[in-house]
Structures are given as C-alpha cells and as structure tokens.
Homo-oligomer: 164 residues x 2
Amino acid sequence: MFAIKFIGKVFMIKKQPLYCDFDSHKITEKNNTSRLYKHKSNFTWRGIKTEHYKPSGTDWSDIARQTLIGNHGESVKFHVRYFEIASGGHSSLETHKHEHVVIGIRGKGICVTGKKKHILNFLDTVYIGPGIVHQLKNPYNEPFGFFCIVNAKRDKPKVLSKKS
Amino acid sequence: MFAIKFIGKVFMIKKQPLYCDFDSHKITEKNNTSRLYKHKSNFTWRGIKTEHYKPSGTDWSDIARQTLIGNHGESVKFHVRYFEIASGGHSSLETHKHEHVVIGIRGKGICVTGKKKHILNFLDTVYIGPGIVHQLKNPYNEPFGFFCIVNAKRDKPKVLSKKS
C-alpha cells in the first residue's frame, strides 16, 4: 500500500489486489478515526454494506459478505469479514497460502479442512493453515453466519472444483 | 520473529515482546496445521487456557483472557483474543499506536474511546484508531465478553491512570 495526496486528502492505494473482494483496486481514503458499527439485530451492521461473496463464478452459491474491518481506510494488518451462507449454499472449494480464522456466529454449518469435516456451531473456531484445501457449506435449514479473519495482504485462492 | 532448530524441531522466537501477553519471550513451536477450538458452551474453548488480562498491575480488575489465535505457532499477522470482564471490572485506561477491533459477544459493557462512550451489546463492533485513549468497563450485573483483534506486532501500551 502507498499514499498519494489528492485534493488535499491522503489516499491509500492498494498495490496488490485483495482477492475475494470487490473493487480490489479501488482508492480508499485513509481513515484511522475510531468508530462504532452498531449491530442491527439481524446480523447486519449500521454503516456496513452487504455484498456478494465474490463478484462472479459458478463454484459457489448463496453467500453474502459484509466487510466490517479492512476497507474503510484502517491500517490494520488484518481484515474482519462476516459471511452468511443461506440454506443449501457453499463457498468455493479452494486453497491459498494465507491462513483463515473462522468463528461460527449464526446457526450452524460445515467447515471442510483437508480430509476433516467439522460441524461449526456458535463460537466454534477453526484455524485453517496455509495450503489447506477448504470449503464452508450449509446443508441445514437456517442461515449459517461466521466471521472470517485474514491477513490484509494475501495471495489469490486457487479454486479446485466447480462442485460443492 | 526468527526460527531456530532444537531437538529436531523448528521453534519460532519472538524478538519483540507482545504486550498484554504472558510469557512474552516464550518459545513457540511453529504449528501451521489446521485445527478446531470447540466452544464449550460457557464462553471457554477446548484447548484454550484462561489467563489473567495482564500479569500484574493495579490499573485494571476482574478480567480474564483467552488467546484463541496467536500463541500456538500460527503465522498470521493478527491475534484473536476473547476477554471477559466480570461485573464491576475494567481494563487499563491506556493508549498505544496499534489499533483494536472489539466485537461484543457476551452480555454488555462500555467502551470508552477518546471522549466517546459506547454501550456494546452482542456483535456491536468498535474500531479503535491509533493513539486513542480507551478503556473497557463492565458496570452491569452480568459478565461482559468480547473479542479483541490486534496486529501480531504491536507497541507497548501507555497506561494513563490507575483509576477506572
């Protein structure tokens, strides 16, 4: 990341695309002031947009993303995202060098890491190591929501299959 | 952080102390394998120790810490900790260059950032910018639990007062 000055303000330019993110090359105004993102009681937050999991692709379905921390000008070395998988949905089956920390928040779901398959309930926490093939799925009837925390600088995932 | 080989294993040595942590200079075996920390239903996790907030000091009271991610050999650039403040307790009133992300999980509490005072309920999320004086308090009757996510490499806090 590097800074430029434009119309009297400092903007941070992301040199590396942030994968799984929209507008990966967008200009973000640096904003280090403290702020509150109030939970709106239905797993959405005031001031946080709900977006698609990825901008395109047929290797995933029925996932929404909210980026709580990481695209509002913060200088932290990590991003905090909340994902929600609707009943029957799943993330990409993928691998990458960067690690994931996944914390179950709403309902329950399945987290596949390598040959292991974990059922995730509230606050169950999974550390997914580098290079591990993984996927999140929701075969249950209620939405499955979880935090996923990642390094701010991270490599592009390799998608392994178009099927869940 | 740098690596040494000892009795056939690779150990990671933390060059910088990690403040607010116990055993800041301890040797941590590198461990990048995926793993699950199962929630035990009372805001504790299988495989995670419950510790004091800080090893010493009279500027805080009644806080327990659980480090979920960051001291088990992970190479992530962030640490995920769960803190719980008992009724009447509080953290240090402090400031530092590194940022905090605080997410309310159990009960409710107060987060002071500069001149602002936020009541934090479930999933309310606060970004605390660099250099902001802050404190977490629990004036309520039930325990107040929250995740606090920080950069792995961070500076030492300056405690401003011994009183809450």
